[in-house]
Amino acid sequence: MEKWPNNKAWLLVLPVFVIVAFSAIIPLLTVINYSVQDILAPGQSVFVGTEWFKEMLHDYRLHDALWRQFLFSGLVLVIEMPLGILIALAMPKRGWGVAASLVTIALPLLIPWNVIGTIWIIFTRPDIGLFGYYIHKITGIVFDHTARPLDAWITVMLMEVWHWTPLVALLSYAGLRAIPEAYYQAAKIDGASDWSTFWYIQLPKMRGVLTIAVLLRFMDSFLIYAEPFVLTGGGPGNSTTFLSIYLVKIALLQFDLGPGGAFSLIYFVIVLLLSFVFYQALLRVGKGEKG
């Protein structure tokens, strides 16, 4: 069949353009608009060019928040990935235990994020919280995430691991179940130990899902806001002030729309850059599988 130009087809794409414009492009332009102006009062603003960007890029609190963010995401991966894989390996492979363990493990994923913050506030209280009470009883330390940065970090990490390791476990479990039985049979016949079966069969075969798990967990933890905001509000001091929390402080609490806009764009660029790097990594993994 011959093709002929029919410009009416563009009309069909129009709804998508409109939706994307309202959901992404217009808000983004608004942010860009704010980021180059100093708003003195409603209806009264001055064009300042790249000044806010310069200020934000030199803001030591932003630097601190960024390093804190990397440390947090790094710890998340280092803890959650091996733990998730271990849980998946320990899960039953057949029978009623499969459904039971899947549901139990998936429970934390179903809880609203704000509620999770609240749960852990109560859980770690030394007077009525199960965790805080026994820490106090056994070690004598009064666990207080509102006063001690270390306690705050421990709580945030525990909460994050409890909340999101299930996702890694579920993905790993799916990856494990997808390995054909013949691989295990061959390994048995070749006399492979459990460790070599894991290292040479299970882990390589899980490569695909594990890459996805790393991507999801890194990006999600990099953008984390609700749970630490409810739990610590970024404190004590600034010890758990991650990028999102700092951004909200600037843009909404202090209502500095100019710096807030500049920060948003910087944050956006960092995320975009990381996404690109991860996307490339993912593509490479995909190719390796096929080859």
Partner: protein
């Protein structure tokens, strides 16, 4: 290397099997001789793979014993039995090089690196894998991958037997032929016991010295390809081997003739005598290639109608009806085929009788 004995084996995937239908293997009792090239042939779901997994130790049979060289290994896991198995789909350690794949079973058994290298190079040479030794195994084509699977079995010089579970399923037709020939060469070279599971009769008949035909959880016959063709012990063998399969006609035996709804067919005396004594439902069987189709009547022939002819190039398949029953005959391409009415001759030396499915011997 070993002689493998299966002693009254039965297996069911049900935990507490009651009815015979719940058994995947009903009764297997036979010996696989050391150094033999065996094929295990049968339709899908007849229990071939189950039997193979019992031999290798991946499954423990519900009943019966497995003996290697007279030693009971029924309770031993596969790694203690020293057996190799090649699966339907290539199984590789895809992060490893071809060399490391081949070395893996030896490393797991703690051999010295010097010995391992010597052995791997030797096997790679046999399998034509030498140029690929340093490549990643995952990068090879399907036939190369299956060779690696086979190689992991061959590297163990003391391997008791190599079991193949439809190993050529994923190989291209051209490579299939080459790989099969390669297997045969390797078998002659190393004199290992090979047991080869397949549902493809060409594969089984070209590969093996002895073919075991399985049907509904039982081995119905073990024999040379020629034996299976000429003397099928069970009607299933007659039907399953050969293309088209054997013709079967319900009959009764009177004197020296088999009667089929009015038509009478002369049998050889010995067959007829046994037929007269046999119990159960009698059937007459003949291979399509032995059934003679003539245009002119001669004494001893039976009248039939020609229903259709398929020309396969080098020969023709004629479909006929005799007393309402359908028969097939294969004829050379140059032989004229009578239209409509034809006379059939059943050469007595190729005409067999079956009672309740089993050939009367």
């Amino acid at each position: 290397m070993a002689r493998i004995e299966l002693n009254e084996i039965a297996h069911s995937y049900h935990r507490k099997p009651k009815r015979p239908a719940e058994y995947a293997l009903k009764r297997i009792h036979n010996v696989w001789k050391d150094g033999g090239a065996y094929a295990l042939l049968g339709p899908s779901g007849c229990g071939k793979t189950t039997l193979l997994n019992i031999i290798s130790g991946l499954l423990t049979p519900t009943r019966g014993r497995v003996l290697y060289n007279g030693k009971d290994v029924t309770a031993l896991p596969p790694e203690k039995r020293n057996i190799a198995q090649v699966f339907q789909f290539p199984v590789l350690y895809d992060t490893m090089s071809v060399f490391n794949n081949l070395a893996f079973p030896l490393r797991n058994r703690g051999l010295s690196e010097v010995k391992i290298k010597e052995r791997v190079l030797e096997v790679a040479e046999i399998l034509d894998l030498t140029p690929f030794l340093n490549k990643r195994a995952a990068g090879l084509a399907a036939d190369g991958k299956q060779k690696i699977s086979l190689g992991r079995g061959l590297v163990r010089s003391d391997v008791a037997a190599i079991l193949f579970d439809e190993p050529l399923t994923v190989i291209d037709p051209q490579m299939k032929w080459e790989l099969r020939r390669k297997l045969k060469v390797i078998h002659e070279q190393l004199k290992l016991t090979f047991i080869y599971v397949t549902h493809d009769q060409t594969e089984a008949l070209t590969f093996a010295d002895q073919v075991a035909v399985m049907f509904e959880g039982e081995i119905v016959q073990i024999g040379s390809p020629q034996d299976l063709f000429e003397n099928p012990e069970h009607r299933f063998v007659g039907y399953f081997i050969g293309s088209p399969g054997m013709n079967f006609l319900d009959c009764t035996v009177e004197g020296n003739t088999a009667r089929i709804d009015g038509a009478s067919i002369v049998l050889d005396e010995e067959t007829a005598a046994k037929g007269r004594k046999a119990q159960g439902k009698l059937e007459l069987g003949i291979r399509p290639m032995y059934l003679e189709v003539h245009a002119e009547f001669v004494d001893g022939m039976a009248r039939a109608k020609v229903k259709g002819v398929e020309d396969l190039g080098s020969y023709k398949i004629v479909t006929l009806t005799l007393a309402g029953k359908t028969l097939k005959a294969t004829l050379p391409d140059d032989k004229p085929i009578p239209e409509d009415e034809a006379w059939l001759f059943f050469p007595p030396q190729w005409t067999r009788l079956f009672a309740d499915g089993w050939m009367i011997k």
